[in-house]
């Protein structure tokens, strides 16, 4: 058996050498980029990769982001006369998944840019690999502050994100609660994810700084379904508001169950952009009435989201968006496309040369880009999300929710 494999391999190699010798001569292009160039021959696609969570309990997050990228590709069509090819790896929403995905992608020099990761734990391990390979990386959903904190060891060159740092959003939510809703006693719930835990921590700290008190900081299982007991115990502290910056599945159930817990009937409920999704309206049913969420300010571009993005999404995948961050992923893809268009050098025969550092520079230089999630302007450390955080309020049967603040 082994012998036959070697024989075959040897013959393949010989045959391919013959074929290669007959191929057309390529005019050499002088690459002056500090970390190299990607060459895309005519007829070849521009290779974009994703590193998103596409299996396991968190998979809707990554699959939805990938759908967002595919919608962006479909809307964009060809890029400088080349197709865009999307391949990818599963980041597992975990450190080990991030390392596996990062390593595998780093081995492929045809990749121009990577969209990912889904989770910050994966990013911390994957980024050194992806950044080291010279890729530009744009994440649609990593929110951990350290990833774009200047001077932090987890802030890698070439990494940007269209998601918000938890620092912005948690503080904004606290301001909204204290100043606009005028509450002084709040409770928080997180689900053990890095995102939720960090957000509620930032919220709690800011809220206390503003002069409020935190009555409870509870945590639940994201895959659990019974949150009533946790809510009942929270109710004993008589909070005026509950902040639970978690994801759609547990978030919609908490929204429902909170209404049924004595003492919480009139308590304000608030989530974060992890619950900015049509699935919340479906999952929470009538209980969604009055639910607040913090999110980037979508007001100016909601029309395009409704009229262009959603129909295309449904055409391609047969469903409504299944999670959140598809718009962020769409925007991540779009700023990459724009940057590629800006820096790519095209030969007469159609060959593209993309300088890797040039691409990074172009991405960092993104300014006032009209995306679905707002006007994107990237900071030197890679935060591209529109820094304006708004609060929205859900009403039964209505999506997107109404903007109420600021």
């Amino acid at each position: 058996m082994k012998k036959s494999i070697f024989t075959i391999l040897a013959l393949i190699v010989v045959a391919s050498m013959v074929l290669a010798a007959c191929g057309p001569k390529v005019v050499p292009f002088e690459c002056t980029d500090a970390i190299g160039c990607v060459d895309v021959a005519p007829g070849e696609p521009i290779h974009i990769a994703y590193a998103l969570v596409i299996s396991g309990a968190d998979e809707t997050l990554g699959v939805d982001s990938r759908n967002g990228i595919e919608v962006a590709m479909a809307l964009k069509g060809q890029l400088l006369g080349h197709d865009v090819q999307l391949t990818g790896e599963d980041d597992g929403c975990s450190a080990e998944g991030g390392q596996a995905a990062g390593t595998k992608l780093a081995a492929d020099p045809t990749i121009v840019a990577v969209i990912g990761t889904s989770c910050s734990s994966a990013a911390r391990v994957a980024l050194p690999l992806l950044s080291g390979a010279g890729f530009s990386v744009v994440s649609p959903s990593n929110t951990a502050p350290d990833l774009t904190l200047e001077g932090n060891e987890n802030n890698w060159p070439g990494y940007l994100r269209t998601a918000h740092s938890d620092l912005h959003q948690g503080a904004a939510a606290a301001r909204f609660a204290f100043e606009s809703l005028k509450v002084t006693k709040a409770a928080t719930i997180h689900d053990g994810s890095l995102y939720a835990e960090k957000l509620q921590e930032v919220f709690a700290n800011s809220f206390v700084e503003l002069g409020g008190t935190i009555t409870a900081q509870e945590a639940v299982d994201p895959n659990g379904t019974d949150f009533k007991s946790a809510l009942t115990s929270i109710a004993a502290g008589e909070p005026e508001m509950i902040y639970y910056p978690i994801f759609v599945k547990a978030g919609s159930l908490i929204t429902r169950q909170a209404k049924e817990v004595p003492g919480l009937e009139t308590t304000y409920l608030m989530g974060a952009d992890g619950m900015f999704s049509p699935d919340v309206v479906e999952g929470a049913g009538e209980a969604v009435e009055g639910l607040y969420v913090s999110s980037p300010d979508l007001a100016a571009f909601a029309a395009e989201y409704q009229s262009v993005f959603l129909p295309k999404y449904e055409e391609l995948f047969g469903t409504q968006p299944i999670s959140i961050f598809h718009a962020h992923a769409h925007d991540a893809a779009m700023i990459i496309f724009a940057a590629i268009e800006k820096v790519a050098v095209q030969d007469e025969d159609g060959t593209l040369h993309i300088g890797r550092q040039a691409l990074r520079d172009a991405l960092y230089a993104t300014a006032d880009f009209k995306g679905l999630t707002g006007n994107l302007t990237c900071s030197p450390t890679g935060d591209c999300a529109n820094p304006v955080i708004a609060a929205y309020q859900y009403h039964v049967g209505e999506y997107p929710p109404t903007k109420v603040w600021p």
């Binding site: 393949i12 074929l19 596409i54 790896e89 390593t103």
Partner: protein, 564 residues
């Protein structure tokens, strides 16, 4: 079923319909449409087509085998009928899709899918084409059946190779970039997606020819008596494999080093669980707990982030190992009297408790909680820091070498025989004077130790640990791999890890269908080889024994942790 054979035509239709159900399932699950643009041979046929044509072929072939022997023309006709039934079912799906909005329920019932099934033709013509294809492929299945076994296997091998190489195009090209000129040569074989038609034909003929020639040699070899192997060839082989193992990472690059590291980690854990489950027969569903304890001890002792200690990897290693052994004994004590599934559920609970404690806000100041522990030390040998996947591979290699040696020696030792006695029948073993307390605790402790070592390397490899990594699926994976490999068999652990851990990593093309394939693979393997891929010699003996002695159900007792 043996008493009356239904008419072969009826059977052909039946198999065809089952095939149709399988094909519809694959279509609606999304496998056909997802691979619709994934060419095997560029511009000619796609993986999507392979996905829905294979059921036709397989079920037609099964029909013929079940109804054999039949005259030649009837074989072809039966195959064609079966193929027609399969494609008929698919045509019905396409037709239904035209009138009903199936997409409201099945998001994958997209126009794209119908397009692929009808070869992108107008509806009437497309349906006819689909039915015709079924008919022809069914007929071809009949034709294949009529070929000589040698020709059949040649064709099968050649086709499989073409499909595999075409499918794994990206993987092969990615790896070959490291080989310079050779890499370019390899790349020239492929189109942008899949093989070029020319190289597909060359590959097909080459593989076919080699296989055909090999089978001939095998046939003639079978008639000659085999010569005994000389003693030095064994050492030569061993040395050769060792050399290959050492050279693997630099040759294959980081992509495969990463996969090998993962395999190595699971081999380490598998060797440990093999002692607990395979040798001692104690079903442990919470094995990840020790892995977590190893990783977290390493994290707490070495990470400057928490600010307790900042030991080096080697300084922390003995403490981590000690913690794991103690944890093994701690778990072992309360479960001493429990048997079978009671044991399984308590160990499962133990695994969950460890994960939840690591995750909890309560222990956050000590264990990092949700945010995990970062900046864990990596092993350093002299001035040389092992920090890439390729370098850590050698750490795994050494670790596995030591652990496998210990496991191998333990197996034939006094304690090893005591474990096996406990596994077979606990009461008898105790009556024979085996101290079940120390024996069981020893199994738990050694198993925990091996898993903990894997955990420390895991922590060092990632330089971080998160509670989310310590989930139940890790325990399940390890259990699956030792049973797929052959319970109680040390080489089985290696084989099982390679099959179960490496294959999902290689199946990158399948993306979210990996777990579907993984599940199907587990079921299929257990159905075809219930004793495992590389069974333990003793077990093979017992399985064999059973064929003569079916009254006592020794099979039920074997591997039965209750021992009865």
């Amino acid at each position: 079923m043996q008493t009356q054979t239904p008419s072969p035509w009826k059977q052909a239709t039946r198999y065809g319909l089952i095939g149709g159900a399988v094909a519809i399932l694959m279509s609606l699950v999304g496998m056909v449409a997802t691979f619709g643009q994934r060419y095997i041979v560029s511009g000619i046929f796609t993986m999507g087509q392979v996905m829905f044509l294979t059921p036709i072929l397989i079920f037609a072939y099964m029909t013929i085998r079940r109804t054999a022997p039949q005259p030649i023309n009837k074989v072809i006709l039966l195959g064609a009928l079966s193929g027609l039934s399969t494609s008929g079912v698919m045509a019905a799906l396409v037709l239904t899709g035209q009138f009903l909005n199936l997409r409201a329920m099945f998001p994958n019932a997209s126009p794209e899918l119908y397009g692929i099934l009808t070869f992108n033709q107008e509806s009437a013509l497309g349906l006819l084409l689909l039915l015709g294809t079924g008919l022809v492929i069914g007929g071809i299945a009949g034709g294949i059946y009529l070929l000589s076994p040698r020709m059949r296997s040649t064709l099968l091998q050649a086709t499989t190779w073409v499909v595999l190489v075409g499918l794994l195009r990206d993987l092969i090209v990615t790896v070959s970039y490291r080989w310079g000129f050779l890499g370019n040569a390899v790349k020239a074989l492929f189109a942008i997606s899949g093989l070029t038609p020319l190289s597909a034909v060359i590959l097909f003929i080459l593989v076919g020819a080699v296989q055909y020639w090999r089978l001939e040699r095998k046939q003639s070899a079978a008639s000659r008596p085999t010569t005994n192997q000389k003693p030095y060839t064994r050492w030569l082989k061993l040395g050769g494999s060792a050399l290959i193992l050492i050279l693997l990472p630099p040759v294959l690059g980081i992509f495969f080093s990463e996969i090998l590291d993962n395999v190595g980690m699971y081999i380490l854990m598998g060797l440990g669980l093999n002692i607990v489950v395979g040798f001692a027969g104690l079903l442990d569903l919470g094995y990840v707990a020790f892995f977590a304890i190893g990783a977290y001890t390493m994290g707490v002792l070495t990470s400057p982030e928490l600010g307790f200690f900042s030991l080096t990897y080697w300084e922390a290693l003995p403490f981590a190992m000690l913690a794991c052994v103690l944890a093994g004994i701690f778990l072992g004590l309360p479960v001493l009297k429990m048997r079978g599934d009671y044991l399984a559920i308590v160990t499962l609970g133990f695994g969950e408790i460890v994960r939840l404690l690591a995750l909890s806000d309560w222990l956050r100041p000590w264990l990092g909680g949700t945010q995990g522990i970062q900046r864990i030390a990596q092993p350093r040998i002299g001035d040389f820091l092992l920090n890439t996947q390729q370098e850590l591979y050698y750490l795994f290699l050494i670790g596995i070498g030591i652990v496998a040696f210990i496991a191998w020696r333990l197996k034939d030792s006094r304690i090893g025989r005591a474990w096996m006695a406990l596994r077979e029948d606990e009461d008898v073993a105790m009556a024979m004077g085996i101290n079940h307390v120390s024996t069981k605790l020893m199994a738990f402790a050694v198993g925990a130790l091996f898993s903990g070592v894997a955990g420390t390397i895991f922590a060092a490899k990632l330089t971080s640990v998160y509670p989310h990594s310590m989930n139940f699926l890790v325990s399940i994976n390890v259990l699956c791999l030792i049973i797929i490999g052959g319970m109680g068999s040390i080489p089985g652990v290696f084989v099982g890890s390679l099959v179960l851990i490496a294959s999902p990593d290689l199946l990158r093309e399948f993306a979210e269908f990996r777990y579907l394939a993984y599940g199907a693979l587990l079921v299929a393997m257990m159905l075809t080889k219930p004793e495992g891929l590389w069974p333990e010699a003793r077990r093979k003996l017992e399985l064999h024994e059973d064929e003569f002695d079916s009254g006592q159900e020794p099979l039920m007792a074997m591997g039965n942790p209750d021992g009865r």
